[in-house]
Symmetry: C4
Subunit: 232 residues, 4 copies
Amino acid sequence: MLKELKDKVFKANLDLVKHGLVIHTWGNASGRDRESGLIVIKPSGVDYESMKPEDMVVIDPEGKVVEGKFKPSTDAPTHLLLYKSWPEIGGVVHTHSSYATSWAQAGKAIPPFGTTHADHYYGEVPCTRLLTDNEIETDYEINTGKVIVEKLGKFDPLSIPSVLVCSHGPFCWGTDADNAVYNAVALEEIARMAFYTILLGKNEPISQSLLDKHYKRKHGNGAYYGQGEKSN
Amino acid sequence: MLKELKDKVFKANLDLVKHGLVIHTWGNASGRDRESGLIVIKPSGVDYESMKPEDMVVIDPEGKVVEGKFKPSTDAPTHLLLYKSWPEIGGVVHTHSSYATSWAQAGKAIPPFGTTHADHYYGEVPCTRLLTDNEIETDYEINTGKVIVEKLGKFDPLSIPSVLVCSHGPFCWGTDADNAVYNAVALEEIARMAFYTILLGKNEPISQSLLDKHYKRKHGNGAYYGQGEKSN
Amino acid sequence: MLKELKDKVFKANLDLVKHGLVIHTWGNASGRDRESGLIVIKPSGVDYESMKPEDMVVIDPEGKVVEGKFKPSTDAPTHLLLYKSWPEIGGVVHTHSSYATSWAQAGKAIPPFGTTHADHYYGEVPCTRLLTDNEIETDYEINTGKVIVEKLGKFDPLSIPSVLVCSHGPFCWGTDADNAVYNAVALEEIARMAFYTILLGKNEPISQSLLDKHYKRKHGNGAYYGQGEKSN
Amino acid sequence: MLKELKDKVFKANLDLVKHGLVIHTWGNASGRDRESGLIVIKPSGVDYESMKPEDMVVIDPEGKVVEGKFKPSTDAPTHLLLYKSWPEIGGVVHTHSSYATSWAQAGKAIPPFGTTHADHYYGEVPCTRLLTDNEIETDYEINTGKVIVEKLGKFDPLSIPSVLVCSHGPFCWGTDADNAVYNAVALEEIARMAFYTILLGKNEPISQSLLDKHYKRKHGNGAYYGQGEKSN
């Protein structure tokens, strides 16, 4: 079942490796089937080199395995909470990419320092609060999802398509698995340039007008970047 | 029309990716036809992997599309203003390359810290002023061109073939599209080494005599680098 | 003799190069045969490009060459001391990988700044004390092993599978040569992110509860990461 | 003439590109024929992609072109001065490699922070004084060689096989062109790790006894690294 989505999610997982965002098994990608609401996700701890499309695991919104010979990614409950909270998203990825993870480890949001950032995020890339010891000890992965949703608050998740989980790393999402990978690639480069920018002595974000200009040039009704249909 | 120039501009755009200066669609290159004054430029938001030479867009100096099924790059008005201001240039490229963009985000010119810099730029790589809110809201891309030209002032644009647009990223130019790519590659490496140099505690530029020596060793009537004809 | 182990150790040595942890001949890997207690190790100063599986050297636990036309790695006495001290390990690698070595050169342990670290090390990656002049002048390589074992103290070596030798570089180990390479790859990325994290202004390690959660999610009886059998 | 040496010098020049030490035409390598004393060097400003072994230029110790259709590298006078001063060397390379050049731009010697350094340099990698305006204006390339030799002073050039030319970049040498490339690769990695080490807060070099141990383990009569014959 869901063969096409399995192929897409499989490819999304490999793309994380291809783009240098994941080594070992430090990442996972998932996608949602719009009709059935089922989620296809990477199996837990399986090597990327031996992984095949049919190894992808199908789970229902409560996390029950519907199809697949492997256990789903340990982070599946986090993915599920994001899907449940945000009907508009269709893909989620989690990586430990070097620069984004370093910002998460430092416990700092990434300020919008330039137009590259503004082209992709309508504001800073936020960093969650730390989980309490209780939240860590019980239902850790669900609580990780909860602090992400709590942090994003009333923002449109597609206008801020990534969050840094404090002391952990980035979660990114999008309209589908491929779009979530796209956002993860953008985030890592934005995190890298923000790191250099900070070291060059800059701490102030760009103006609201420049943020508006670039974000709205690519997104929403007034967008004039690309060829008319939705473009990345 | 302009098949040869389209091939060159197409290759210049791909070279930006090959040299690691562009990910996603974060860049664009253009070239000018000396005879007709027409400009060939990358289409907006088209993936590099699927792009073909015939997808390049031909525009006239006012930005009107003369040939091409796609819309030109959103940054076309910036390119056009540079071509109009500087008859001696034949190619323009814009990237969000990591180190050059970080200097732009920090709002700092790149001082000439060594002979690598002096071999390519006859002085610092300048950083523009910020655009005003009005300049951002109306004719943003034209105004981006204007602050570049304003910043370069009376300098020969071929002796300082790049500028950092504050809070945005580098624009580079040259005698043709290929030469502009050459300059973008040099700029990124110069920006990278300047970043390391600053972190090692150095803030003073090299002496005027060393700047003169290296720049003039490669450029102008007294040049003795290369094989006699113009060399990069 | 030990053809299979030679193949594994040969591959482990090449993998260090493939993963960018070793240039020139700056590294070595070894493995232990569980039955005989013999060690297979890289020959000293032999180029990776010309090296063949049959060039691996077989030594006994005292360092006597049992088979092989080459001298064993100069660091063999360090490997042997680790094998002798820790019966549970089956592989050792030594590299001069860039970030881990820089921490070793700075004489600083790598604090657990995030869950990537906690997934692999149950606490900081420790840094040994400096050797005394006497320890350097006589039996240097054995003494290098001694300060590693001294530093690890009563910790389970498989729960902290790497140490930084002060002013030198990392030694990593594992259940076999391949697992030791796995740990060396993880260490370098963890060292890299810890470096960025420090530069972003963070100095405090993560909480004990987060360290416990992530380490125990992947290791020991309560582990629920992976597919049930031991996973990396 | 000197076909074998031309092949070696050609390969050495390409190896600089392969190892990531040179982009554009920012580097050059040369080798000396022991019998005739003639030097084979890269032509000036010729692209690496189109360059062929027969394009290498043969010059005599005074810089007169003995064979070759191209002009020799602009830096040939610097190479020649090193060959003239140090009969024991057989190869010279010059690069603008990122980290070594950044130390040169900062005007700082690279302290021996660890055993990687001590394995290759018997002391710091020195940085020359700045040239005076007179030295820059007249015979610049010869004077560049002079400050290198002046800086190295009474040291054996094969025990400190590199110098940073202040505000410029590294010159490296060795027993032949290939060995000079080997040293340039080692220098860049040592410069990179020293940069990270400084940023981690370390400023003191290693002890003389550790420097002695590692340098002499690989070099001189007491060496016991490698297979008995001279090893890198």
